[in-house]
């Protein structure tokens, strides 16, 4: 198995390079190569998922662990990789079916570079390498965000870049502090060394921990650092916004990884610091997302705020840092990535067919039946109504937060109600209050099929909830007892 661990990084990188150099200007071949690479990525991700119950390390250049860069495959990284590959397939199909990839050069190579960066960020076991993969995925996302061009999109892109460059600087400050205190940036090595940290260095370590959480909060769009998200996602091409649904989850992934491995709640130097910071921020994120859903002026903006609310739910579950709450958060990450992506695709299908993007009556959308059904399903999934996986996900989160029910349950249920009203308002304006118009149908069977594939994935996640939650519970247990992870890198646990 060992060399396959690097395949999710190498394969998209090679595919992107071949597309840029050999297939330049040949869209048909680029589409075929992109789909082939994503199918191969899916196969690799599934094979890695099967092999992941025992953590395994891959030593780049065969340097031993704290000295070289190490990639670690464990249940969590394999799960996130599978989610990434599973999302990339419908997104690429939708881009082809809707013709988005023909509206500017290099859509498919940039998508592959994005997959490379995200896959690397999930796999790496080195904190500085995590920063490098963040930059790889960000620079690809800058290109994708302004794909298709246009003044408003470019200017929204400047804000997005500025916010993320600031985040990168904070990340570097945090890493330098960590290195100054411990002399290592290998995550397993940090986990082994931090419990024995001298008393005088704990203040510096706490500063580094808070800076890191700030960086992950920017990525995860946690209030008060969510300002970049609505403008970026609402102005990005719909298909790119759908792919970006997995990018906020990187913030959640990194928080989970650092919060259980490097700064676990039983570490004396930081203690419950992360939980204390994340809990109120998650509640505020939920509130902002729900109110934004209610007040959004366009469907893409509504989808962006629904995405923020889902991150609030994820972080609310994460902030408890118990195995049960971690498993619930993981299930909600899987669900909300697919559901948010679906809503962004629906928003794109709708806005490209309407006279204007505002949520006010406009001539009816030709052949709106399937699109309305998709919007209805995405809304149900994101609000958390039965029968889709959103209901199960929220149920798991509520169940895991029993001990803080008064505040967390109230916030979660109230936010769900506000989102229900917001989604119902948007759906009824878009599909019921339409003015009569001549139907001149735009047929995009492949794009619709891609959106329905996401819906099918949500349904599968619901039907297979039993085995999936069992697997996630084992993942959460492994995260909260990282001895096997540290042992895989060949380092001594303290």
């Amino acid at each position: 198995m060992s060399h396959w661990i690097i395949a999710p990084v190498v394969l998209p990188a090679l595919a992107a390079a071949v597309m840029v150099i050999a297939l330049r200007g040949n869209l048909a071949l680029q589409r075929a190569a992109s789909l082939a690479a994503i199918l191969a990525l899916n196969a690799i991700a599934l094979a890695l998922l099967k092999a992941s119950p025992t953590p395994e390390a891959y030593f780049l250049g065969d340097w031993p662990a704290p000295f070289g860069i190490v990639l670690v495959l464990d249940r969590l990284s394999a799960l996130m990789l599978a989610l990434l590959a599973g999302l990339a397939l419908p997104v690429a199909l939708y881009a082809i079916g809707s013709g988005w990839d023909a509206k500017g050069a290099h859509f498919h190579p940039l998508l592959q570079f994005l997959l490379m960066g995200i896959g690397g960020a999930f796999l790496t076991g080195d904190a500085f390498n995590l920063f490098v993969f963040f930059e790889v995925l960000l620079i690809a996302s800058y290109g994708l965000m302004i794909h298709g061009g246009g003044g408003a999109r470019t200017r929204a892109g400047i804000q997005y870049i500025a916010f993320n460059l600031l985040g990168s600087s904070l990340f570097l400050f945090a890493l330098a502090l960590l290195y100054a205190v411990t002399g290592t940036l290998n995550m397993a090595d940090l986990a082994a060394k931090l419990p024995g940290l001298p008393q005088g260095d704990t203040a510096l370590l706490r500063v580094a921990a808070v800076l890191l959480i700030l960086v992950f909060a920017i990525k995860g769009a946690l209030v008060p650092l969510q300002f970049w998200l609505p403008g970026t996602y609402a102005n990005a091409p719909g298909v790119v916004a759908a792919m970006f649904a997995v990018m906020t989850k990187i913030g959640a992934y990194a928080t989970l990884r650092f919060g259980t491995l490097v700064f676990p709640p039983d570490l004396p130097a930081t203690g419950p610091l992360l939980a204390d910071l994340l809990y109120p921020a998650a509640l505020a994120t939920l509130a902002v997302g729900a109110i934004g859903t209610l007040g959004a002026g366009t469907l893409p903006r509504l989808a962006a705020f629904a995405g923020i609310a889902s991150m609030g739910t994820v972080f609310l579950a994460l902030s408890a840092f118990t195995p049960a709450s971690t498993a619930a958060a993981l299930y909600y990450i899987l669900h909300s990535t697919l559901a948010t992506a679906l809503l962004f695709l629906v928003a794109d299908l709708v806005t490209r067919r309407r006279a204007h993007a505002r949520l006010s009556p406009a001539p009816a959308i030709p052949t709106s039946g399937p699109i309305a059904a998709l919007d209805f399903a995405a809304a149900i999934a994101l609000v958390g109504l039965p029968p889709l996986s959103g209901f199960l996900g929220k149920l798991l989160v509520l169940d895991a937060l029993r001990d803080r029910a008064a505040l967390a349950w109230t916030a979660l249920l109230l936010a769900s109600f506000l989102m229900l009203v917001g989604q119902a308002r948007a759906g009824s304006i878009l599909f019921w209050k339409a003015e009569p118009a001549d139907p001149a149908p735009t047929r995009e069977p492949l794009a619709l099929a891609a959106a329905f594939a996401l819906l099918a994935a949500l349904a599968a996640l619901t039907l297979a909830a039993g085995p999936v939650t069992d697997w996630l519970a084992a993942t959460a247990d492994a995260l909260h007892d990282p001895a096997a992870y540290i042992a895989a890198t060949g380092l001594e646990d303290a």
Binding site: T154, L165, S168, G297
Partner: protein, 111 residues
């Protein structure tokens, strides 16, 4: 030397944050550049300050920590590339909008 380096990092950070809070894209880019200079010095200082120490084992005398030097090289390359990307975007935005304000108009959600 510690006081000099610390105050230099502090001044660069302060200048960077001040410029980043401006409304035009050019000062914002300059501010981010200053911030990246500050963080590069900061990473360098994370390996402890040493004078006349080579980062090569096998040479005589005290050794400097080579790892922050490698880290800072990576950080410099990345921040250089990112600044270039943002510069291009700012020029594109300026040409498209006719001004280089960094805030978005209220009703420009639809590209």
């Amino acid at each position: 030397m510690e006081a000099l380096l610390a105050s230099a990092i502090g001044t660069l950070t302060a200048v960077g944050i001040y410029l980043m809070l401006r409304l035009r894209s050019f000062p914002v880019i300059l501010g981010l550049t200053f911030l990246s200079y500050a963080v590069n010095l900061f990473i360098f200082a994370a390996g402890r300050l040493a004078v006349n120490a080579a980062p090569i084992i096998g040479t005589p005398g005290p050794h400097a920590d080579p790892l922050p030097q490698a880290l800072v090289l990576t950080a410099i390359v990345i921040s250089f590339g990112m600044t270039a990307v943002m510069m291009i975007m700012a020029i594109g935005g300026h040409l498209a909008a006719g001004h280089d304000r960094i805030d978005l108009d209220r009703r420009n959600d639809q590209p």
